[in-house]
């Protein structure tokens, strides 16, 4: 590698000293095996002006709309460099070379001209392999022919890494069948070619590109087959993990959540949990679901949980209160605006059902339906998301039993509902029966709420749900 460069570089000053390679006898011998080098001289760190190629239809100028790279970036051949537009046509310009971008000749919205330089690329010759295609060409390329489609000769496409692998194994790229995009030669193709030549069985290479979708549907039956086919590999290569950390700024809604949650943790929380036997409620809901459907409403368990909470808050209004910043005053809120935590693409949002104290279970169901459809469409309004006084989070729809919910300021209490599980329990007669059990975890502000209050509220809420008929007595 080095010999060739020294010969052709004589008289040309090196830009970087690292390109001055070690000159020894082994390098001399090695050079005879090089068959893939271009005959025309390439100097180290040469800056090439990559010109804007012909767009077709006689177009001479375009507008630069987006740069995909910036000065100083490394590019590989076929990487996208920029997007230009001309008369309703959007054109992706890809790099012809491997190297480093040294200069962008245009800014966004500038007019660029066909045939004029677009970017300057410093060709990275230190990699040891010519960035040009494996070309059989006679005259040196004229400046106008700096376009992909006008190269004469046999075109073989391969990345530098693949070319190196071929070179190390003395393979001529033109003899390898490429299976990648545009007949590009991939690493697997080189390995397969080698396997055929030497008769060796090479370890299956991890598929980096298109993952065959068969994995999903044939996952189970395929596994034993794979095991049988796998032949013990004599050489184990350590698999290099090339994942990189990704850092993003915290913006928008996330920033607001950071503020809110930081404020929330200043509240001294205490927790109280219990299990609720929903066997009767499950049955009741089954009976009422078709009635609600006739009225065009989906009835879940939440309307019952919400109404029961409101009935409980009538007896324990301190749970529907707010403590001011200086902890000087407690405001008992008249309206029970019960928030329902919703999981959306953005994250956790909590719209609330207003004035539950004057709503029937059906009214709540209607309102929930409305909030849920707006929530999933990303169209909740400010009034839906403000004014909440108490919150319920039905995390159980995703999973979990007990939780430790965080109070949403300026509220003072929150409840997290786990999933409904069918569990064995003892009834009054000492017999085991199938019970529908759900866990609830409350958190409350210990500055103004004590454990006993929370426990009594929870017991009352629990009794309404375990015996839904009792709700009738207290419904307003």
């Amino acid at each position: 590698v080095c010999i060739h460069r020294v010969r052709s570089c004589s008289g040309i000053r090196f830009i970087k000293s690292k390109y001055v390679c070690v000159f020894d006898k082994s390098a001399l011998k090695f050079s005879h095996q090089q068959r893939l080098f271009r005959t025309s001289p390439v100097s180290c760190g040469q800056i090439v002006q990559f010109k804007l190629s012909d767009i077709g239809e006689g177009i001479t100028e375009v507008t630069v709309k987006e740069w995909y790279i910036k000065e100083g970036d490394s590019v590989s051949q076929f990487d996208s460099i920029c997007e230009v537009q001309s008369d309703k046509a959007s054109v992706t310009i890809t790099s012809r070379y491997d190297g480093v971008i040294r200069k962008l000749h245009y800014s966004i919205d500038d007019i660029a001209f066909v045939g004029k330089p677009l970017v300057d690329i410093e060709i990275d010759a230190s990699k040891g392999v010519a960035p040009e295609e494996d070309v059989v060409e006679t005259p040196p390329m004229s400046h106008e022919e700096h376009t992909h489609q006008e190269i004469k000769g046999h075109k073989t496409l391969a990345t530098p890494a693949v070319r190196r692998l071929a070179m190390e194994n003395n393979i001529k790229l033109s003899e390898v069948v490429g299976t990648g995009k545009d007949n590009r030669i991939l690493k697997e193709d080189i390995l397969n070619y080698l396997a055929k030549q030497t008769g060796a069985i090479l370890p299956p290479s991890p598929k980096a590109e298109i993952v065959p979708p068969l994995r999903k549907t044939e996952a189970v039956p395929a596994a034993p087959k794979d095991k049988a086919r796998r032949i013990p590999v004599p050489v184990s290569r350590p698999i290099a993990f090339s994942g990189k950390d990704k850092t993003e700024p915290v913006t928008g809604f996330q920033k607001a959540m950071v503020k809110t949650m930081s404020a929330a943790l200043k509240i001294p929380h205490f927790g109280y949990s219990d299990e609720i036997d929903l066997t009767q409620l499950v049955q009741l809901r089954e009976e009422l679901k078709p009635l609600a459907e006739i009225r065009g409403v989906k009835l879940s368990f939440m309307p019952f949980f919400i109404k029961a909470a409101s009935l409980g808050l009538l007896q324990y209004p301190i749970l529907n209160a707010s403590l001011d910043e200086n902890c000087q005053n407690v405001t008992y809120k008249a309206s029970h605006n019960i928030g329902v935590a919703m999981d959306t693409e953005q994250g956790l949002i909590v719209p609330n059902v207003k004035n539950v104290q004057v709503c029937s279970v059906f009214d709540i169901a209607v309102e929930l339906n409305r909030l849920q459809s707006l929530g999933s469409a990303g169209q909740l309004g400010t009034s839906d998301l403000t004014g909440g006084t108490f919150t319920l989070s039905n995390i159980g729809t995703i999973g979990g039993t007990y939780a430790k919910p965080v109070i949403l300021p300026p509220e003072v209490a929150i409840g997290a509902l786990g999933k409904i599980q069918v569990l064995p329990r003892f009834n009054g007669k000492g017999e085991v029966f199938k019970a529908q059990i759900m866990n609830v975890s409350w958190s409350a502000d210990h500055r103004i709420i004590d454990g006993a209050t929370m426990a009594r509220f929870s017991n009352l809420w629990k009794s309404y749900l375990e015996n839904p008929a009792s709700m009738l007595l207290d419904l307003k």
Binding site: A89, Q149, E325, T386
Partner: protein, 372 residues
């Protein structure tokens, strides 16, 4: 029209390139495919897939597709400038950004889309449009349709019935165009009118035009008839069989990687984030109690996010701490009504609990959100 299913292609000679090469390779120089889906994102993904993966040296492809109601903006356009986003959200009309250039169009099942795939060398829009005109005239000789030098097709010399756009890559290129058969013109004109004022940008503007449906000219015409006529003409000109192969854009085996492409087209980062830098400069007139206050708003939006935010409020209308909090939070956020709504309502939780303050805050924020 003979519709040929995937299974029938097996007898064709295969040039092994892609996993389902038998579907894609024909012995002839052309292939006509039609999507079974009406989802704009899936169909745009098919275009991307063919553009990225197919070798079009030996054969060209004609892709026929229709979408359920959607607005499609060009690669370098600004959706706030081009359409009524509020109305789109209300009516559940999808918004998509395609990869080709050009202007904004409204799609529904009364509009047909045609994509002509060729190698970059063979890219030639005029020829394709003339093919369409020839097909229309063969179907209804009395139709007065012709191609303009802006690559539009006009009916009766004045009404636009087709718009064109194109995408050129390294090796391949495609030219696609619409054709109005029986689209809902009322919805079309209302969604393509932007209510947003004070926008300044270098994004490609659309050129509004009077449109007409071919159905209005000749009520016996249907989308199916037009698709068939064009496929027939394409088959004649490319000397291939008049066979239209159905393609399912959700078929990952046939189109490996298609679901990722479909997903990408639906991301906020692509649809809104690719908007060229623009600025919003307007004056909000907020009526509060008995008076109306003027609030000057100036925002710079880059990659769909608010880069710079200036709000000129009357002094002390909001406590300075709160005002700064608002401006700080808006900066760096997406220029998106949903994002800002959840942001400002969440922030309200850590504000002093004052009803007057809350109503001023909500009022100001609601007005700001209306700009998005």
């Amino acid at each position: 029209m003979v519709l040929q299913s995937l299974k029938n292609c097996l007898w064709l000679s295969c040039v092994l390139r892609t996993p389902k090469a038998c579907f894609w390779s024909t012995a002839s120089g052309g292939l006509i495919i039609q999507s079974v889906s009406n989802d704009v994102y899936q169909n745009l993904a098919v275009e991307d897939w063919i553009h990225d993966h197919m070798d079009l040296e030996k054969q060209q492809i004609l892709f026929l597709w229709r979408n359920s109601p959607a607005v499609v903006i060009g690669r370098h356009q600004n959706p706030w400038q081009e359409c009524n986003l509020r109305l789109l959200r209300q009516k559940n009309i999808k918004l998509a950004r395609r990869r080709s250039g050009g202007g904004t169009v409204y799609h529904d099942l009364g509009n047909i889309n045609l994509t002509f795939f060729t190698t970059r060398k063979k890219y030639e829009r005029m020829g394709n449009l003339k093919l369409i005109v020839k097909a229309l005239k063969a179907l209804r000789p009395q139709l007065d349709v012709h191609v303009t030098d802006r690559y539009d097709i006009l009916l009766d010399r004045q009404y636009k019935i087709s718009g064109t756009a194109a995408k050129l890559g390294r090796a391949n290129a495609y030219h696609h165009c619409t054709l109005l058969c029986n689209a809902d013109k009322f919805v079309l004109s209302s969604v393509l009118k932007s209510p947003y004022k004070g926008l300044k940008s270098n994004a490609t503007p659309s050129v509004p035009a009077s449109v007409r449906n071919l159905f209005e000219e000749d009520p016996s015409l249907t989308s199916e008839m037009l698709l068939d006529a064009i496929a027939k003409e394409y088959a004649v000109q490319h000397q291939i069989d008049h066979h239209v192969t159905l393609i399912n854009p959700a078929d990952e085996t046939l189109l490996p990687g298609i679901s990722n492409k479909t997903k990408e087209l639906q991301t906020w980062e692509w649809v809104y984030g690719k908007t060229p830098k623009f600025s919003v400069s307007t004056c909000l007139k907020i009526s509060y109690k008995d008076s109306v206050i003027d609030v000057k708003v100036n925002m710079d939006v880059k990659h769909g996010k608010i880069e710079v935010c200036n709000i000129d409020l009357p002094e002390q209308w909001l406590p300075p701490g709160l005002y700064n909090e608002l401006v700080k939070s808006l900066t760096g956020s997406k220029f998106c009504p949903n994002e800002i709504t959840t942001l400002v309502t969440t922030l309200l939780r850590v504000c002093p609990q004052d009803d007057e303050l809350h109503s001023r805050w909500s009022l100001l924020c609601e007005n700001m959100i209306r700009l998005m």
